[in-house]
Amino acid sequence: MNKKVCILDYGSGNVKSVENLVKFLNFDVKISNNETDILEASHLILPGVGSFEYSMNKIKEKIPIKILENEVLSKKKFFMGICVGMQVLANYGYENGKFEGLGWVKGEVKKLQVNNLSLPHIGWNNCDILKNDKIFSDLNDIRDFYFLHSYSVNLENKNNIIATTVYGNKFCSVLKQNNIYGIQFHPEKSQKAGMILIKNFLNQ
């Protein structure tokens, strides 16, 4: 089957960067919130920058969630949420109040416990890979990725944490639940490492 990538468009600032990377890797890609594009896609990506509440409101307003849920949760299409796009997969987020997320994975989004370090967590940090997975292929040597966030997902099912990162304390930097991936860092800004990771995801 031909790969078709749909980057879900709800007004998030970094869609263009994600598209640039997917295009660079020579995949057929669309930025869209259109029903047909979601149905036709083989891989769906939900990017994100900004707060949990803002993103969830925009997602509810712009994206046909029922259709998306049918594709991802029932038909098990490959899905990747990036940064806030990962966080909204959880049940609740606690950024500026308590807000409901999509609830696809059981967990809550809480502020990073960083002791005396500064927030947001900005910069290159490494991932400790806990479980072998296809998206980590060829990433034995390079595991530094670019992070830009103050919150992270606390998963109920720890088995779904496939990589962690330490900033003050350990947090989940990559989650996997069946066909769903959540990536806390920005692969689209992580040069070669990010490129390999996205390529691995799209080659599944």
């Binding site: 900005i122 910069g123 900033y167």
Partner: protein, 269 residues
Amino acid sequence: MKKRRLIPVLLLRNGWLVQSKNFKEYQNLGNPVTAVKRLSEWASDELIYLDISQDNIYDINRSDQGYPNRKFFLDIISDVSKVTFMPITVGGKISNIKDIENRLKVGADKISLNTKAIYDLNFVKKASKEFGSQCIVISIDFIKEDNEYFIYDNKKRSIIKLDIFDYINKIQDNGAGEILLNSVNRDGTGKGYDIDFYNKIYETINIPIIACGGAGDWFDMFDVFDKTKVDAVAAANIFHYRDQSVFLAKKFLYEKNINVRKPDLLNIK
């Protein structure tokens, strides 16, 4: 562990990449897009792109390098983000929220404010609320005279009568995410970074500082990382003149146990 960063600075003047000395003399270095491609292959950690044009004419005036001539700064940024996949900070000529939006839309991740922040502190607050602190870098040109530090206004070419330490605290309180501190005295001289100043600054604030101005060799970078808490070093000239510059700098630092990303040469595809 979080890594300390090496950040090439690109000065853009009317569509051309230029080198500067003491903020006065400018020398042409060529096409900005090809330069960015190179810097990306040498695995720079981020890029800072500053528009220092005095007017609004952007013409790189060359069509022989495979990239179209771009008349507008935003088009240049848009081209840049198609060939490089790393964080980009864009500065220069930002005077309202729409200016920031337009820069983020074409691929910038952060924006940098200089004199705008000095004369309109409230704008820092507004911008960081709208786009998040992580998006707002405040750039300060500082000058040392008679053992005292001052803020320098590059446009007016004069010292500003504001206490620099007080100002830095204020911008932190107003939501700045990072501070780029550029030494006017050392700009383009290769005399090394102003270590005393960066240590003094860290006595009062805790947001990340990017040290800039004065790098003459890789040892200068080691020195400032070793003796201060700066999160990143930025440099312009030294990164543009040497082949594989960023790679070699990183290798030097990595071998001296500075916590930087592993040096790499990216040959993608």
